[in-house]
């Protein structure tokens, strides 16, 4: 047994890790390569480099409208998840009542249902209620998927919050709402950030749940890309993908820089999945 950095098993493991890293990054990196390719079909290596596909991308008004829809729904679903989720988490954590554990399970149940099954169910439901084809049905469908994440993460955050601080605020004259705003919220801000982040990503990237609820009016970006890919595979999608990857990278950088890693670890490990 040879400890230290010369250990062959350790070296093998690290080499393996590098391979896995390459595997994880490959499609993303090469999408970027193709985005700047000059060819009008997908060939490697690219015959030349140009930005023409980005230019063509910006002419696609339908894709742009879809992006706006996705953004609106994602923001709405995130805000709703945070507000409703925080309230529900407060109710679950701060009070004891009959059926509390059952309610907790009930809130997490939507996570088990396969998204495509839920999607088709929502389609039937929406048609039944004559609400098919609007942003509202999309919003509600996404909310059902993001809310359980928010509740799960926020209950973990609240459990680890210091209750004596809330008592101190009350003792100093703060009515319950003020206490919540000035003392509880600052304590769970990492949980709120992580929930909001997850909720946004999940809603923004939702395909299976949106797939059955869209028509041309309320198209979302991932579904629009999906349809585009079925019809043609020109590098316009690569250009769009490159843009989205760029946004994701910026998002990751911001997340890494702003979040306190110890807080994050606590919230993530307590939040379960």
């Amino acid at each position: 047994m040879r400890p230290g950095s010369r250990d062959p098993v350790r070296l093998a493991l690290l080499a393996f890790l590098w391979l896995v890293v390459a595997f994880m990054l490959a499609p993303i990196v090469f999408t970027l390569v193709f985005a700047f390719s000059d060819a009008s079909y997908l060939i490697f290596p690219p015959p030349g480099y140009s930005l023409r596909w980005f230019a063509k991308l910006f002419e696609q008004r339908a894709l742009f409208a879809a992006a706006v829809n996705s953004l609106v729904v994602a923001i709405a679903a995130t805000l709703a998840s945070l507000v409703v989720g925080t309230a529900a988490a407060m109710g679950l954590v701060r009070y004891r009542f009959f059926g509390r554990e059952l309610l907790r399970t009930l809130f997490l149940a939507p996570l088990i249902v396969p998204r495509i099954a839920f999607g088709v169910a929502m389609l039937i439901y929406a048609v039944l209620l004559r609400r098919f084809g609007g942003l509202d049905s999309l919003f509600l469908a996404h909310l059902m998927v993001t809310l359980p994440f928010a509740i799960s993460i926020l209950t973990a955050a609240l459990v680890s919050a210091d209750r004596s601080l809330e008592e101190a605020a009350a003792d100093l004259g703060a009515p319950p709402l003020v206490t919540f705003w000035k003392v509880t919220l600052p304590q769970i801000r990492t949980g709120l950030a992580v929930s909001g982040f997850f909720a946004f990503i999940v809603s923004w990237d939702q395909v299976e749940t949106s797939l059955f609820l869209v028509k041309t009016d309320n198209m979302t970006l991932p579904v629009a890309m999906f349809y585009y890919l079925q019809r043609q595979q020109d590098p316009v999608i690569a250009a769009l993908s490159a843009l989205l990857i760029g946004v994701a990278v910026v998002g990751a950088v911001i997340a890494v820089l702003t979040v306190n890693p110890r807080d994050l670890q606590r919230v993530l490990s307590a939040g379960g999945r």
Binding site: S164, A168, A170, G173, P186
Partner: protein, 355 residues
Amino acid sequence: MDVDVELREVSKHFGTVVAVDRVSLAIRRGEFFSLLGPSGCGKTTTLRMIGGLEFPTAGEILLRGAVVTDLPAYRRATNMVFQHLALFPHLTVFENIAFGLRLRREAPDAIARKVDQVLQLVDLPGYGGREIHQLSGGQKQRVAIARALVNEPAVLLLDEPLGSLDLKLRLAMQTELKALQHRVGTTFIYVTHDQGEALTMSDRIAVMNLGRVEQVATSQEIYARPQTRFVAGFIGEANFLDGRVVHAGPDGVLVAVDGLRVRAETAPAPAGAAVTLSVRPEHVKLGAAADAAANRWTGRVEEVTFMGAVVRARVVLDGGVRLVAELHNDAAAGLTPGAAVAVGWAAGHSVVLAG
């Protein structure tokens, strides 16, 4: 004398657990009043009910004559210093202290002036800009007190505030707190399990056990005249002698204990009643010092322990009764295990306990 806080038959049940059992107290304005007892005796729950952080299952709580039983904490004229301080970590010292003032929408210059004043009071001048994590344990303690006091509450509640400090700091803070209370004049209600702390600082003490108040009296009286066996054992040390009243008269009581006849001071115990006597070790005299005692017997020294300024001796009387005596080390000369010795104490030093 004004009564600031009154509790009338206050009880608190948590499910089937009775945490506080029909407690009645009247705390006077300007008093330093302590709730003393072991953990689980209900003292902290009682304090929290006075503060509005818990609500009684039965009984009434009055603050300066007004019924406040159901009033939540943020509407009561009390402020609390919490056991673990509960300082807001995301706010500066100034913002912590100003918290209550801001909620009452006081003018910014009034707030600044009051915060400054209270910082001077707790001997932390100029500390307003500091972050909480930059402070030492004692400094945090003082900020917590300042944050409560700056709101000029009718009553200040303190929940074992010195528990987390080391011994030397704790003793220093006890003196400071007492001086502070004198300066400010606010009624202090102080919870502690440390009898030495309670005796040092309090004007009056309520000794609690298993949710009930066993005795309320001044420090001296609690020490000299404990009313129950629990109080006698919890405060200081005691020798307990169980016996039966033989004769009760205007000049005192005679109690038969294991074949001995012990004189005690007058007590409302009829002849024939079973009573317990309590005698403090420092009142048990040995040798020549026991000559003039009303209670005097012979016995034998069993064990002598040298403890620095005092010496403790365990003696057994000829009838078999065992006692612990505590003497000054210069009075302990000649005490060796096995030596015969006279043992005695004054009649007034046998305290008749209620049970």
